[in-house]
């Protein structure tokens, strides 16, 4: 065996002498190559989070909508890619516009160079892909508010506007050199940009759509509409959790000195703390250790640590996760109380935890890490200054107001012109059949009419 290998290698050296004696790549090229690989890998991980969203949304909803819920995620991710390529990327990162504080302008129908230019840390292609995957995640969060009752056409319309305008504008403000970035708003991987934005769109959608049939009783008490597959839901959390290491650690967009490892480390702690806190609070308050609550808590821990993973010490990551886990439990109760139907718990998991995570920077960020990342300053505990907390608060409020207003405008107008919700009959037979003509679980579901004797 060894002999054969050596022989083969010898022959190859004779045939391709260049390979053996090629000039070593420069340190800069190696650095660029490694960074590119890391960003590319992170893109793959974040894209795979769509698998998590498919399982999360499907598992949390009923069988009759399973095919629709799962399929539309793939479809809108594809549509988002085209929209982001044509327009969204140009608004977020396209280059200076006359009002650069508000949005970027340029690079529409993005036409990247085929390789990295001299001095670049990575080629713009991988950066584009990575950013696109974030936009798609934010979009899939928004779908939580649409679940089980929105028309398929509304998904298409909203994808166009959300990926072309709403998400890119927020991304530009905080990551693309916009005015919040200039103020030093810290949102390392997108508690606000990705999660809060998606959740607020979901909130607007669910308010405009009104609750699903049967969610609330006349006297205002809520019914539990159980998802059809808790194993899917649990698996979705694992998929998202794994993907989150691309999301957070990948947001370093560099291998550099290995800082991405620290970011991943904090991410893990935040997630664990979220799940533990949620399970304990659910057990303490309701007497039952609710699985859905625990899963939501784990996700809430991840969402909350997303903004702060590069800015805080590990103990703070644990605290942020613990608070997020408790917060999500009460938030779910709160939305139920005000009669907002949130089938996938997007408002609590991504919205409330997103707000908390963003604010947590203002409390727990350390000066040393803020300097290391190069954004903003340390938070209240480390520096005793309220400055960063104020900036964080400002970014939550401003982004919140913008996303709410823009989503209300788009979805409201759409509701007036083409309608938003399916008819009662369609909702009752399920979107699989009404929107797509076939059930996701044909053996389990009978097509209406088929059991009628002719």
């Amino acid at each position: 065996m060894i002999k054969k290998t050596i022989l083969a290698l010898g022959i190859f050296t004779l045939l391709f002498p260049v390979a053996a004696f090629a000039e070593d790549p420069s340190a800069a090229t190696l650095n660029m190559g490694l960074n590119s690989l890391w960003v590319m890998l992170s893109f793959v991980l974040v894209l795979l989070m769509q698998g998590g969203f498919i399982l999360l949304e499907t598992g949390s909803t009923r069988m009759k909508n399973a095919g629709h819920v799962a399929g539309k995620t793939i479809f809108t991710t594809g549509l988002a890619a085209l929209v982001y390529w044509a327009f969204g990327y140009g608004i977020a990162f396209g280059g200076d516009s006359a009002v650069n504080a508000l949005f970027g302008w340029g690079n529409f129908f993005f036409d990247p160079s085929i390789t990295a230019s001299e001095g670049d840390n990575y080629p713009s292609t991988v950066f584009f892909l990575f950013q696109l995957a974030f936009a798609a995640v934010s979009l899939s969060i928004a779908w939580g508010g649409f679940a089980e009752r929105a028309k398929l056409s509304s998904y298409i319309v909203f994808t166009l506007f959300f990926v072309a305008i709403i998400y890119p504008v927020v991304a530009h403000w905080i990551w693309g050199g916009g005015w919040l970035a200039e103020d030093g708003a810290q949102d390392f991987a997108g508690s606000t940009v990705v999660h809060l934005t998606g959740a607020l769109a979901a909130f607007v959608a669910t308010v405009l759509l009104k609750p699903r049939i049967g969610k609330f009783n006349k006297d205002g008490s809520a019914n539990e509409i159980l998802g059809h597959n808790q194993v899917f839901t649990a698996l979705s959390v694992l998929l998202l959790w794994v993907g989150w290491f691309g999301f957070n650690a990948g947001s370093t967009v560099a291998i550099g000195d290995g800082f991405f490892g620290f970011v991943a480390f904090n991410t893990m702690l935040g997630a664990g703390a979220g799940g533990v806190a949620a399970l304990l609070i659910s057990w303490a308050v309701t007497g039952k250790a609710d699985i859905t609550t625990m899963l939501n808590g784990t996700l809430a821990g991840l969402v909350a640590i997303t903004a702060s993973c590069a800015f805080v010490d590990p103990w703070a990551a644990v605290v942020i996760g613990l608070v997020a886990g408790v917060l999500v439990f009460y938030s779910v109760k709160f939305f139920e109380k005000i009669k907002v139907d949130d089938p996938i718990y997007a408002l609590s998991v991504h919205g409330m935890a997103g707000i908390w995570g963003t604010l947590a920077n203002g409390i727990f960020a350390t000066q040393a890490l803020a300097d290391k990342v190069g954004i903003g300053t340390g938070g209240l505990i480390d520096t005793g200054s309220w400055k960063q907390l104020w900036v964080q608060f400002e970014s939550v409020v401003v982004v919140g107001a913008f996303v709410l207003a823009a989503s209300f405008l788009i979805l409201g107008v759409m509701k007036l012109i083409i309608g938003f919700r399916v008819t009662e009959e369609q909702e009752i037979i399920g979107l699989d059949l009404s929107e797509h003509g076939a059930y996701g679980y044909p053996e389990q579901m009978k097509k209406p009419g088929h059991n009628i004797q002719n």
Partner: protein
């Protein structure tokens, strides 16, 4: 209900000559009793309701015997006893309790198949009479009309031996049901004999206690670690408390287990507590607080949502927290904490007996 009115009603029940008459008497009693609940001491109220239930059930049995005679089946071929289990056995029926019943008859000298057939038919008529009077049959089919629960004394004692020998989950549940059995009609010596073999078996199978303990502590007391009430969160009973399974049954179960361990034959929970004190198993002061707590649970249970389903008096055992005053809520919370304490005590005491 004033005593003269009540006595009058009881008399009327005792002489009703058809099921419809019994039903309308029962309906009258309900109307009167419902108005009394808020003002009457609960123990007295409970006693009066159960007195009425007992009278109605006895009369239904009389009528069934007469019906058998009219059908040409004659009178009972051997002495028998009609047993109530569950809340009826414990003299703790609400205005809407279901039927849990059984029959034990003396071992026939001959023609055992005919005797069996007689009691089978009789029980069927009794159960259907009671259904007409508004008592829904037990969902678990613990009914005299089920041939498993309508047996001769020796068959019963074989059955008990079998349950004790193979204490599967179901068998243990049945044994605990037997422990609450009370003779309501017929020869009470037969029930005493049945209880004799139950307690003899108890002594011979100490290991049964472990299994009974598992079964007894199955229902959790609905109070959280912060002392808060654990309410229903969803559905049409959202905000309600499961008084039956989250408060009343855990306490009934605990007291029953303490009682059967020391051979107490009383079936009513308050009587059992009194006997536990007498037997030196419980201190006077503990007994006083447990009794107080149990009285509250009895009252709350009487207040739970009533639903009439197909003419039957039914009840889901749940109480809307809106019906509770602030003082009642506080009292309930402390009763539930006591219930928890009692469960821990039962666990400790039973395990102590086993080791």
């Amino acid at each position: 209900m004033s005593d003269p009115v009540r006595l009058q009603l009881l008399k009327q029940i005792g002489s009703a000559d058809h099921v419809e008459g019994l039903r309308s008497l029962r309906d009258q009693v309900h109307e009167q009793m419902e108005a009394l609940l808020p003002t009457h001491p609960v123990e007295q109220f409970n006693e009066q309701i159960n007195e009425v239930h007992d009278a109605v059930i006895r009369r239904s049995i009389n009528l069934a015997e007469a019906e058998m005679a009219r059908l040409g089946k004659g009178s009972p071929p051997v002495p028998y006893a009609y047993l109530l289990f569950g809340s009826g056995g414990r003299k703790e029926q609400t205005l809407s309790s279901d039927q849990d019943s059984g029959v034990v008859y003396e071992d026939p000298v001959s023609d055992s198949a005919d005797v069996k057939q007689y009691f089978k038919e009789l029980s069927q008529i009794i159960v259907s009479n009671l259904q007409s009077v508004g008592y829904p049959p037990c969902e678990g089919n613990v009914l005299s009309s089920n041939s498993e629960w309508c047996l001769s004394l020796s068959e019963w004692s074989r059955k008990l031996d079998h349950w004790f020998d193979e204490p599967a989950w179901e068998a243990v549940r049945y044994l605990l049901i037997i422990a609450d059995g009370r003779c309501i009609y017929g020869e009470s010596r037969l029930v005493d004999a049945l209880k004799d073999s139950f307690f003899t078996d108890m002594l011979n199978h100490p290991i049964i206690l472990q299994r009974m303990l598992d079964n007894t502590l199955r229902h959790k007391v609905l109070v959280g670690i912060f002392g808060q009430l654990l309410k229903e969160r969803y559905g049409e009973d959202a905000g309600s408390l499961d008084i039956k399974y989250g408060a009343y049954i855990p306490m009934v179960n605990s007291i029953r287990l303490l009682s059967v361990q020391v051979g107490i034959r009383e079936t009513a929970t308050l009587d059992r507590i009194a006997m536990l004190v007498e037997a030196g198993q419980m201190s006077e002061s503990d007994a006083a607080v447990y009794k107080q707590a149990f009285r509250l649970l009895l009252r709350l249970r009487l207040m739970t949502t009533e639903q009439k389903e197909d003419g039957l008096y039914a009840n889901n055992g749940k109480l809307s927290s809106r019906k509770l005053t602030k003082e009642m809520t506080d009292e309930l919370k402390s009763s539930l904490r006591l219930g928890k304490k009692l469960q821990r005590a039962v666990f400790k005491q039973t395990m102590g007996r086993l080791t």
